[in-house]
């Protein structure tokens, strides 16, 4: 069976940090690395931030992903620093494009990967609840995470069916190919979705009482470290705006 996007085997995941810390990390990455709000005097901070997801991936036993992406990142970084100044024209242009996309997007995407692969749905909803996010968002969110693997499964079953019918690529025009894939996908999803809602409703989802949550979340040492690291660039930004730096 397919591995779910959100982690669900609770016991097999190394270091655990609070979902709220992860969210802070994501936003920090989005602001400083992806959005590149830079502080000239503190230019070393971005690379440091970029190292966080690698470390976290390592600590949560995703060693292969961490090492491979670190290598890619390092390679692109070196090429940007060493090779690119000596190129011109088209090659320079291509290198540049790649480097911008990789250097800006990769750390963010890795953080995203880390967050998704290390959080259980109930931890996530618990955190959302602690932050007083309305049920109107948490219910669809948890359904959605539950549904990803299902959609992926359906998708691959449909692909298999198309292979056996000999109607995969090449057989016809793009529109038909899309149609043959999307139509069964939609019908199956709607059907499963209906059954899923029925099952959830008969177990009292959507009641007027406030939901409780069994999973325990909270801040620990690792959270403190990550939070401090995340706070640093904001502090730097603040200081530089105030003219201290």
């Amino acid at each position: 069976m397919r591995q779910s996007i959100l982690q669900s085997d609770v016991d097999a995941r190394g270091l655990v940090i609070d979902p709220r810390t992860k969210l802070l990390l994501l936003i920090t990455m989005a602001v400083f690395v992806l959005g590149s709000v830079g502080i000239a005097q503190l230019s070393f901070i971005n690379p440091v931030l970029c190292l966080i997801p690698f470390c976290l991936l390592l600590l949560s036993r995703r060693i292969k992903v961490a090492v491979v992406s670190l290598l890619i990142y390092a390679l692109i970084y070196l090429v940007t620093m060493l090779v690119m100044p000596h190129t011109t024209g088209l090659i320079n242009f291509l290198l540049l494009g790649t480097s911008v996309v990789v250097m800006r997007l990769l750390p963010g995407i890795l953080t995203g990967m880390y967050v998704l692969s290390s959080t259980t749905v109930s931890e996530f909803t618990a955190a959302m609840q602690r932050m007083h996010i309305t049920e109107k968002l948490t219910i669809p969110l948890s359904v959605m995470f539950r549904f990803f693997p299902t959609v992926a499964d359906e998708f691959s079953s449909i692909n298999d069916a198309m292979l056996m019918r000999g109607v995969s690529f090449g057989g016809g025009n793009v529109g038909k190919m899309l149609e043959y894939r999307l139509v069964p996908l939609m019908t199956c999803s709607v059907k499963i979705g209906e059954e899923l809602s029925a099952a959830a409703l008969t177990r009292g989802l959507g009641g007027s009482v406030r939901r409780t949550n069994v999973c325990r979340i909270g801040f620990h040492l690792a959270d403190a470290v990550v939070i401090t690291l995340c706070a640093a660039p904001y502090a730097g930004l603040l200081l530089s705006r105030c003219g201290v730096l």
């Binding site: 069976m1 085997d9 259980t120 948890s142 292979l163 019918r165 008969t202 009292g204 959507g206």
Partner: protein, 513 residues
């Protein structure tokens, strides 16, 4: 406990009446079996009791439904949920969470119970349903039987008075049914009221004390289980019901046909990524050609993997199929094999039945397509959208497209799960017909009745290895019954005395926690 008074109902998207003037009074602590052909309205009755009708499935409803003090058709669903717990047919789609512990906690969380209390209830329900080993696991790594037990635990944690089960065994093997039987027995002992809609009757003989037989939206017979058993299997067959005793089967399909050549498989080896043990490990295998081969074995024994490798869907499987001297690798097998999936919705793409068949032909030939449709009784529906057909008809459309694409080997994945007697016979007729056309058929199934109805050969898998490969002759029948377990060969009451004992021990443990 449950009072259904003169209820008539029709779903809003269909013209047909699902229930007409149904009245049913069920006492507290009763266990009621609802049976009847597909579409007789038994599922609709379960939905009346758990409130999904009229709150979720909309339609026109008359009459009243009360459970205890609660007027179900007026009360909100989450109020009904405290009193009525439901287990559904498809284990794949009844889970709201992704891990088992959260799933068991889900109902309690919705009720807003305190966290400590939920913890205790989880422990208790897990102990009762024997799912402790499954706690904190991913739902997607469980087998169908395990999922169904987790679903039961989740319902049990809510401690409802009434339990409603809608065809819970459709996707289960014999061992899993046996486990589910234990669960029901426990609920019965706890004095819960149980309503179960089922096609497979044999496992419910000592659970249910009352049988309600429905037909065309009406209650036809309402009698005690004892009376029902006395009717005998022949009478049940007339009523369109599956038999109560599996041991009475004795057909010997295997011996009546002459040998028609063989297919040789070699090096069928397959290991899923991140799995330590191979899911399939077959060095050499000889199977009859042009016959109907049943592939049996427990959930997770490698049946589906075998089918996928046979059809060439797993490219990493290096196995070779040798038929009359011609060797076929995965890629070539993809061209000559076809699988009718358990969920046929995956393989219907076009907007009409006729198009579906034409799409499968190399050279679209309408006359030939019409002929194929005719042979499968699909001609009247040739202009209809495949998705608007009934389950059995969809399956026939899939078969038609397999025939149209001149596939020699056709694999069926659980073609009769959740089907009643009549539809099961229909499927078996289709299979026999295909076999007469010289196709080699492979059928993954848990359905002993289907096997005796049409199969001629048995392939028994366990842990990815072949542990039985024999024709279904006299000896074969015996062996098959043996491998299907105790429930078939003996009167299962004896066997269940033993089960009862182990299970009482567990009950005591559960009460302590």
């Amino acid at each position: 406990m449950i009072e259904i008074k003169n209820v008539s109902f029709s779903y809003s998207n269909s013209k047909a009446v699902s229930l007409s003037d149904v009245s049913l009074h069920i006492q507290k602590g009763e266990a009621v079996l609802l049976c009847g052909e597909s579409g007789c309205g038994k599922t609709t009755v379960t939905r009346l009791i758990n409130g999904l009708i009229p709150h979720y499935y909309e339609g026109e409803m008359f009459g009243s439904v009360r459970v205890g003090e609660l007027d179900v058709s007026k009360a909100e669903l989450y109020e009904t949920a405290r009193v009525v717990g439901s287990v559904f047919q498809n284990p794949r789609s009844q889970f709201f969470c992704v891990d088992t512990t959260s799933e068991i906690a889900f109902g309690c969380e919705n009720m807003g119970l305190p966290e400590d209390e939920i913890g205790q209830r989880i422990a208790r329900a897990a102990e009762e349903m024997d799912v402790i080993a499954l706690l904190r696991r991913s739902i997607f790594k469980l087998s169908g039987g395990e999922k169904q037990r987790v679903a039961c635990a989740s319902v049990s944690a809510l401690q409802p008075e009434v339990l409603v089960l809608d065809e819970p065994t459709s996707n289960l093997d014999m061992a899993a049914i046996e486990k589910l039987w234990e669960v029901l027995l426990l609920w019965k002992k706890q004095g819960k009221t149980i309503i179960i809609a089922e096609h497979r009757l044999h496992w419910l003989m000592d659970i249910c004390d009352r049988v309600v037989y429905m037909s065309r939206g009406k209650v036809e017979t309402d009698c005690s289980m004892r009376e029902f058993i006395l009717k005998g299997d022949n009478r049940l067959t007339e009523m369109g019901l599956r038999p109560l005793y599996l041991k009475n089967f004795a057909h010997m399909n295997g011996s009546r046909k002459e040998h028609g050549g063989s297919i040789f498989l070699s090096d069928f080896f397959f290991c899923y990524k991140q799995a330590k043990t191979p899911a399939l490990d077959i060095r050499q295998l000889e199977l009859p050609k042009g016959k109907i081969v049943a592939i049996i074995g427990y959930n997770g024994s490698g049946k589906s993997t075998f089918a996928r490798c046979l059809c060439g869907l797993e490219k990493r499987c290096r196995g070779i199929l040798n038929e009359a001297g011609k060797e076929k690798k995965a890629k070539q097998r993809l061209k000559c094999c076809y699988m009718v999936m358990q969920d046929v919705n995956h393989q219907l793409f076009t907007e009409s039945v006729l198009d579906e068949v034409l799409l499968s032909m190399k050279e679209p030939d309408e006359a030939a397509a019409v002929k194929i449709l005719d042979s499968l009784n699909l001609l009247p529906m040739k202009e209809l959208h495949p998705m608007s057909l009934s389950g059995g008809q969809k399956q026939r459309v899939a078969i038609a497209s397999a025939v149209a694409s001149c596939k020699e080997v056709i694999v069926f994945d659980e073609p009769t799960s959740g089907l009643d007697l009549r539809h099961m016979k229909e499927v078996s007729e289709n299979l026999k017909q295909l076999s007469e056309q010289g196709k080699s058929l492979f059928i993954i199934t848990h359905d002993l009745e289907l096997i005796f109805e049409c199969c001629t050969h048995i392939l028994h898998l366990e842990n990815g290895k072949v542990i039985g490969n024999y024709p279904l002759d006299f000896e074969g029948c015996k062996r098959l019954k043996l491998s299907f377990g105790s429930t078939v060969e003996t009167d299962f009451i004896d066997v269940r005395k033993k089960a009862n004992f182990t299970f009482n021990c567990r009950l005591q443990r559960a009460n302590k926690t």
